[in-house]
Symmetry: C2
Subunit: 93 residues, 2 copies
């Protein structure tokens, strides 16, 4: 029972963070499809703000002991790779 609750919080924290990362990716996809201006300063600002918000959530989950530090870092790294692939694809259009 005790470990059920522990696992439950950990799972929930990871699911929430993964969901937030997906939201950023979708937001940027929509921006790229509609604005086609990845070099726009507003785009950069939105992305920076969202990445900062997510990194604060991840950091908080790590400090709480719900997510191991390397997992939080991997989540951010993956998102950055996906965003960068998206960015490159839009430049080739």
């Amino acid at each position: 029972m005790a470990s059920d609750i522990l696992v439950n919080y950990r799972d929930k924290a990871f699911t929430l963070l993964q969901g937030d990362a997906d939201k950023i990716l979708k937001l940027i996809k929509v921006q790229m499809d509609n604005l086609t201006m990845p070099q726009c300063p507003l785009y950069e600002e939105v992305l920076d703000t969202q990445m900062f918000g997510l990194s604060r959530e991840i950091d908080f989950a790590v400090r709480l002991g719900l997510i191991p530090e390397h997992e939080g870092k991997a989540l951010l790294d993956t998102l950055e790779r996906e965003l960068s692939a998206l960015h490159e694809a839009s430049l080739r259009k």
Copy 2:
């Protein structure tokens, strides 16, 4: 045992958030004592960024079910009141 873990995560989440709010207050105090320029755009930007970061942490803790929504809101409201009092005091100097 199960409820011990639950209480432990809740306490820890609240302590972390309260600590982060205190850090923002201290940061702004130092800025005001040393820069004496609360109308400076950089000051506003630092404050906005920090408040946004904290609000994302609080929102995450609420979504995890570790903090009731009203408690998260109260924490932010209190910090905003303290910052505003600090701001007014610096204008009277």
